[in-house]
């Protein structure tokens, strides 16, 4: 039993350090209004595709507000590229003004 908990803690610690490494580059977070985001299948489609776009480091989809919050590395991609990535899967992503948060963490 003890070994199970030790394993679990080790994995959590390893994960948190692994993901802390990501935070070196400058990142930005943008909110997109995606009208086509109506269902969980649509979210799955976004997750299956946008998550694999270069530079994307986080993605949160909100079904109620039809928005996708994308965090990306500024040296790898930009808003235009992200918008065209949405277009590729048949979705129109409109950046929501004023809600962009810069984060350098």
């Amino acid at each position: 039993m003890k070994r199970f908990w030790i394993t679990l803690i080790c994995i959590i610690v390893a994960l948190s350090t692994a993901f802390a490494q990501d935070a070196k580059n400058k990142k930005e977070t943008i909110n997109f209004k995606v009208e086509e985001m109506h269902c969980n299948n649509c979210i799955k489609k976004i997750e299956k595709n946008i998550a694999f776009e270069k530079g994307v480091t986080d993605l949160k989809c909100d079904l109620n507000t039809h928005t996708a919050e994308v965090t990306y590395k500024t040296d790898k991609t930009d808003i235009e590229k992200l918008v065209s990535a949405f277009k590729k899967i048949g979705m129109t992503a409109v950046p929501v003004e004023g809600e962009n948060k810069d984060s350098d963490n």
């Binding site: 039993m1 394993t7 679990l8 994995i11 969980n40 997750e47 480091t57």
Partner: protein, 739 residues
């Protein structure tokens, strides 16, 4: 038996404005009566192959098709109902109704793989494909590693036969269903868990306690139903390859075609091979048998207006070789166990909707199987040939949201041909049993707050005469966060001694079978409390339950009164099992969920020795308690997934060893098994590596007197723990999705 029938209400009806070619999708929600979303309902345009499924919020959208103005909404291929769509701009709100909604309504940040149904009156857990992907899941037998309710353990150390345990009772008391009709009965019960490849399954439903009378009288401890992937909704193509360091190679592929607007088909292929000899404890015996399996299935789905027809055919071939490891040792005349199995299955389901408004339907289910197992347990040949035919005709009607009725006729035929060459003579155990029966089931539903389900069936067995099976279920949810369920009912079963216990031939124990074995009969009662508590913005799920099974008549498998024999006789006295379980689940942070469960089982039987003395003992080889902790983490982008499961198995009692020369302990100690898996997802494929039994725990001497397999003390059935140690595996999944 089959999924329930639904009425459709269209709340928003077209007003004006209709465009001939409107490219805006039709949007809508599918709800149950409680306004809870219905997940996974099929929605498609009538007379087209253009369809979708509702998501976790019950939401769907579908682009309009020229020439079709009717949407068909159905669930798991049954009860299609038509909704006219005149104005695509309106959001549809479709309310599905059924006698018992088996659809899950859990809305969570991250879809957990095991969903406890909130609306079902029966206590039901649904294990989804996502959950199956959390572990190696080569087949059905390995699908319960992350499930606290179902235990799977090896019956003996030589044949690889596996048994499910539910509520402290062996798997023969659990009714196995595939696509909601009974399957893997009798001859297939020992190895049936290996007969369903993991990647073929869409989901598994586990319900505990007495179940609906629709599927027959057999479920005593519970019911396990496997749904295969459906050709209507399955991926165009998916494939999986798997290899483990234990020398198992496996390949699976399935594909689906939509041939025309009404017809679709799915093809499933499986091949696996365990060809590496292992003898890590050096007792001369293989830790696991060598196996080779070919498994093929083809299914068809046809629909037209109110009529749905399904057909399926399946073939399975398996070879198993267990016994002494000839590769690592020089045996002049090795002790070998060989099993050669062929199985063919056919099924069809026909459903006709008489009245969509009133949810009135008739359905016919027909299935047949042929199973042969030719085996030699060293020098003891044992062969079994079983034919099974099952037919069921059902009629269902919902008179009002409050009252609904289901009634039907059924017939089951089992023909067994068995021969066992034993102590110099060939013994034949041939028998036929035909059981026609009828049932009626009534559901009373008071605004979904109080649901009462009462059923009764009467059957006539050509072996055991008439018998009556009553069952009742109640569900009451006074608050959103608190649900209570209770059930009571009877179950009956015909014991198939050799078919279900032939693995016991891998011991020197003499088989001693009484002549007058009766039908088994038991009462099962249960109570279950579920709490859904909001806590720090997330939901804590708590579940507590107690199930009690009391046998009126039982065929006792007695390995205690004589350490050199196994005796089968009618119960004289009491036999019961009491099972308590608590379970808690909480999503601690984004992507991370922890589930913990603990179960205590008290199962005792009265055994009668050869001189007629009765002594009450705990069920042997059963863990007194079991704890399970399973943690799962998915990274924010869902590219990585980490799963860790710990099973904490309590100790228990061994069958009584020989008093003058005890060759094994009278009890076994507790042990822990840890499994872990890492999955990396890509756009169309994923790769996983994992380990079963990470800390390499094994039972030290699983085979008694292994050096002398033809002696009087040899016994391969005293197995309580894993025989094979740590296993490392890796696999790749690939799919082409339909949209």
């Amino acid at each position: 038996m089959f999924k329930y029938i639904y009425i459709i209400f269209l709340l928003f009806i077209a007003i004006t404005y209709s465009k001939a070619t409107n490219e805006n999708p039709v949007k809508g929600y599918v709800f149950d009566k409680n306004k809870q979303p219905v997940i996974g309902a099929n929605i498609y345009w009538e007379n087209t192959q253009h369809g979708t499924t509702s998501d976790i919020n019950g939401y769907f959208e579908i682009t309009p098709r020229a020439g079709s103005h009717n949407l068909i909404v159905s669930y798991i291929g049954f009860a299609p109902t038509s909704v006219p769509v005149n104005n695509t701009a309106e959001e549809l709100q479709i309310i599905l109704k059924g006698e018992i909604e088996l659809d899950e309504v859990v809305v969570s940040e991250r879809k957990m793989g095991t969903i406890a149904s909130r609306t079902s009156v029966l206590q039901t857990q649904r294990i989804t494909y996502d959950e199956l992907c959390r572990a190696a899941c080569c087949n059905l037998g390995e699908s319960f590693e992350t499930n606290p309710s179902v235990d799977v353990s090896y019956s003996d150390a030589t044949t690889g036969a596996r048994q499910i345990k539910l509520l402290g009772l062996s798997g023969t008391y659990v009714q196995m269903l595939t696509e909601n009709y009974p399957n893997f009965r009798g001859a297939a019960s020992l190895y049936g868990l290996d007969y369903i490849p993991g990647p073929w399954m869409e989901s598994i439903q586990v319900s505990k306690g007495t179940s609906s009378v629709k599927n027959g009288y057999e479920a005593i401890a519970g019911q396990i139903n496997v749904e295969y992937k459906k050709p209507m909704t399955a991926d165009i193509f998916s494939a999986n390859v798997f290899a483990s360091d234990a020398g198992r190679y496996e390949g699976n592929a399935d594909a689906s075609w939509h041939i025309n607007e009404n017809l679709s088909t799915g093809l499933f292929i499986h091949y696996s091979n365990d060809n590496k000899q292992h003898d890590s404890n050096d007792d001369g015996f293989l830790d696991m048998p060598l196996k080779e399996q070919v498994n093929l299935m083809n299914r068809w789905y046809h629909k037209s207006n109110n009529y749905v027809a399904q057909y399926g055919v399946r073939y399975l071939h398996e070879n198993r070789t267990g016994g002494q490891a000839t590769k690592h040792h020089d045996f002049i005349d090795p002790y070998i166990i060989k099993l050669n199995t062929n199985r063919a299955e056919l099924f069809t389901k026909q459903a006709y909707i008489l009245d969509t408004e009133k949810v009135e339907s008739v359905a016919l289910i027909l299935s047949g199987s042929y199973h042969e197992q030719k085996s030699t347990y060293d020098r003891t040949p044992y062969n079994i040939y079983q034919n099974n035919v099952y037919a069921s005709l059902l009629y269902e009607k919902e008179f009002s949201p409050m009252h609904s009725l289901s009634t039907g006729l059924s017939m089951n035929y089992d023909g067994f041909n068995e021969n066992l060459a034993y102590s110099g003579a060939v013994n034949y155990f041939n028998r036929d049993e035909v059981v026609p029966g009828a049932y009626v089931q009534y559901t009373f539903n008071l605004n979904d707050k109080l649901i009462l389900l009462g059923g009764i069936r009467a059957d006539y067995s050509t072996l055991y005469d008439f018998f009556v099976t009553p069952r009742i279920h109640i569900k009451y949810n006074p608050f959103e966060w608190f649900h209570i369920r209770a059930s009571a009912g009877k179950g009956f079963r015909t014991a198939n001694i050799l078919a279900e216990n032939n693995y016991l031939l891998s011991s020197s124990r003499k088989m001693n079978i009484a002549n007058d074995l009766g039908q088994e009969e038991a009462w099962n009662t249960g109570i279950n409390l579920s709490f859904y508590i909001p806590l720090f913005g997330k939901e804590l799920t708590l579940n507590g339950e107690w199930y009690y099974t009391d046998f009126v008549k039982q065929v006792v498998v007695d390995m205690d009164s004589n350490p050199h024999a196994v005796r089968f006789y009618n119960l004289d006295g009491r036999s019961y099992s009491s099972s308590y379980q608590i379970e808690a689940s909480y999503p601690f942070f984004r992507g991370f969920t922890l589930t913990a469960a603990y179960r205590y089982t008290d199962a005792k039987t009265d055994y009668k020795n050869e001189t007629g003395e009765i002594f009450r003992l705990k069920k042997p080889l059963m863990n007194e308690y079991k704890g399970l902790v399973t943690a799962s983490y998915q990274t924010p982008l869902k590219k990585w997934q980490f799963d860790l499961t710990g099973q904490f198995n309590g100790g228990g009692r061994m069958p009584a060893p020989d008093k003058t020369n005890p060759l094994w302990e009278s009890t076994f100690k507790s042990y822990t098994i840890v499994n872990a898996q890492i999955t990396k997802y890509f756009r169309n494929w994923s790769i996983y590596v994992g380990s079963e039994n990470l800390f390499n725990f094994t039972q030290e001497h699983p085979i008694i007197d292994a050096s002398n397999p033809r002696g009087d003390d040899f016994d391969g059935t005293m197995v309580w723990g894993p025989v094979h140690g740590r296993k490392i595996y890796a696999g790749i999944r690939f799919n082409i999705s339909r949209d």
